[in-house]
Amino acid sequence: MPKRKFDPLPTAAFQILLSLADEELHGYAIMRQVEQQTNGRMRLGPGTLYSSIQGLLEEGLIEEVDRKAEPETERRRYYRLTSSGRKLARTEAERLADLLRVARAKNILRGDYV
């Protein structure tokens, strides 16, 4: 059961995966990206952010990017999505989409997209 730790996938971890979907980011940038993509509802603090990042690293869902080009003092760790991370994010998104469909069918959620 290799993915047990992220089953179900915690919101913070999912948001981090999403934030890395199209670019490599460092911790603070991930935090800002998550804030942005949740319309300011989720502001990851350092504890949640880095413990989630560590968890995702251990599960091989993201990986650290080697950026030797940067000067030592400015060095920040950058992360990017791995293929299994991308797959997991997609699965989670589909699960949520299913949920939405159900919600809509039950007239809980109105709207015409997704």
């Binding site: 504890g47 952010l49 880095y50 251990e58 920040r76 760790r77």
Partner: protein, 476 residues
């Protein structure tokens, strides 16, 4: 929130996490502090940080940080035992404090145990040492603390006093102590034991038969394998007791040299010293009280020579003379003169009774009651402990056998009475009953086993128990 407070919050997280991400978390903190200014945003940031510190911790603790420990475990390939540092976390202040507290309490506990007066050891020593050895042991101890010295000497061996060992003797003995016994030495010891028996034992026929038996055993090589003095003494004691059928004969070995003083009477100076010590200690009379309910309580720690202490003892006995009941506290009484034992017991009777004295020089003794005593019909309680010894045991045993006292406390020390002590050589001696001892009560006495109390309680609780019983008895 200051950066310092923030680093404190981060301590909620595992060490491995902090090692890897401490700089990152600080960086994030600084970034947000830089970017989120203004009162509202700052307050929101502080709340975020605190909530985050708590909510993020479970995930942080779930992570394995396998990477961090992988390299420390990597060296385990050769199959050889190795020392791996699994966690490089420095000792926390709390751990150091707990360690400190534990060490100090262990040290204090050890110290307390060492300071205890070891009554248990004394009791055990009394049980495993042969009677003579117990006596010798006490004599040797008396060198260190020459208390009651002359009294004990006179008392334990019925008048044939052993001169006190000098420190020179002790030093000499220590040098020769560990030397194994040679065959000729053993032969001399066996011969000496046999000669002393024939010379002093009250039944000459038995003594001669025993001598034959010992020579036979020696010829058969029964003693050939013994190289240790103590073992030889034990073996000879068993053989002599077997041959005579008398449990009061005893061969003893002493590591310290037994002085060749002969059966000399205590010297004048020893008597003067004894008198001084006794008077200074109020003749070992520790306490005289009239307890509630007019219960007389007497605690004395020896049965001293009446020539010296007669006045003090008679005064103390007179003080409890009008009591409704008497408690004799012998819990620290190590014995003394058989004559004193009889004299203390005399006021408790109004008729002549059979009196057992294993140290008597003439057989069959009775106890004559003290004239005009009001105590003859009053309840008597005797408090005992495992330290209660020798003459104090005689007092306890006799009154118990005569059903004159209720014995409360612990089984007594079991001090032996082995007749008169004779020196065989520098390290061996033999205790020989020179008169036939008749126990008028029948059955075995306390030699080696102690006197069983009627009411078994811990020595410390004995007085309470006695007071309670005395109160009930008086009301009846």
């Amino acid at each position: 929130m200051s950066e310092r407070a923030f680093t404190w919050l981060v301590r909620l997280y595992p060490a491995a996490f902090r090692r890897k991400y401490e700089q990152d978390t600080l960086q994030l903190y600084r970034d947000r502090m830089r970017d989120e200014r203004g009162l509202v945003r700052r307050v929101r940031l502080y709340r975020d940080l605190m909530v985050d510190a708590v909510l993020g911790a479970p995930q942080a603790w779930r992570n394995s940080y396998a990477e961090a420990s992988a390299d420390t475990l990597a060296g385990d390939v050769s199959g050889l035992p190795g020392f791996h540092l699994l966690d490089q976390e420095p000792l926390r202040a709390g751990a150091v404090a707990i360690g400190f507290v534990f060490s100090i309490s262990a040290l204090v506990g050890f110290g307390l145990v060492m300071r205890l007066p070891a009554p248990v050891c004394a009791a055990r020593a009394g049980a495993t040492l042969s009677p003579i050895e117990a006596v010798m042991d006490r004599l040797n101890r008396a060198i260190a603390a020459p208390r009651n010295d002359a009294g004990e000497r006179a008392a334990v061996d019925g008048g044939s006093a052993q001169a006190q060992l000098t420190t020179n003797d002790a030093a000499r003995a220590d040098k020769s102590a560990e030397r194994p016994l040679s065959a000729s030495e053993k032969g001399q010891v066996v011969q000496g034991v046999a000669e002393n028996l024939t010379a002093h034992y009250f039944d000459r026929q038995k003594a001669l038969a025993t001598m034959e038996r010992l020579r036979e055993l020696e010829k058969q090589g029964e003693y050939a394998g013994i190289v240790d003095g103590r073992m030889l003494a034990e073996r000879l004691t068993a053989d002599v007791r077997n041959a005579t059928g008398d449990p009061h004969v005893s061969v003893a070995y002493s590591r310290n040299a037994i002085p060749n003083a002969g059966p000399a009477r205590p010297t004048a100076s020893a008597l003067i010293q004894y008198r001084t010590v006794m008077l200074k200690q109020n003749c070992s009379l520790e306490k005289m009280e009239i307890l509630p309910g007019n219960v007389g309580y007497l605690k004395f720690n020896s049965f001293p020579d009446m020539e010296v202490c007669g006045a003090s003892f008679h005064k103390a006995l007179a003080q409890v003379g009008g009591a409704n009941a008497v408690i004799f506290d012998l819990r620290d009484n190590t014995g003394g003169f058989p004559e004193t034992v009889a004299e203390v017991a005399a006021p408790l009777f109004d008729r002549t009774v059979a009196w057992y004295n294993p140290k008597q020089t003439q057989s069959a003794t009775t106890l004559t009651p003290a004239a005009g005593s009001k105590l003859a019909n009053k309840p008597v309680y005797i408090l005992t402990s495992s330290r209660t010894f020798s003459g104090a045991e005689q007092f306890t045993y006799n009154l118990k056998m005569l059903k004159r006292a209720t014995v409360i406390g612990e089984t007594t020390g079991g001090g032996g009475h082995v007749g008169v002590f004779h020196r065989v050589d520098e390290h061996f001696g033999i205790g020989v009953p020179e008169t036939k001892i008749i126990n008028p009560y029948g059955g075995p006495d306390w030699d080696g086993v102690g006197v069983e109390p009627d009411v078994k309680v811990k020595a410390v609780d004995a007085l309470n128990e006695a007071e309670m019983r005395a109160a009930k008895q008086i009301l009846r």
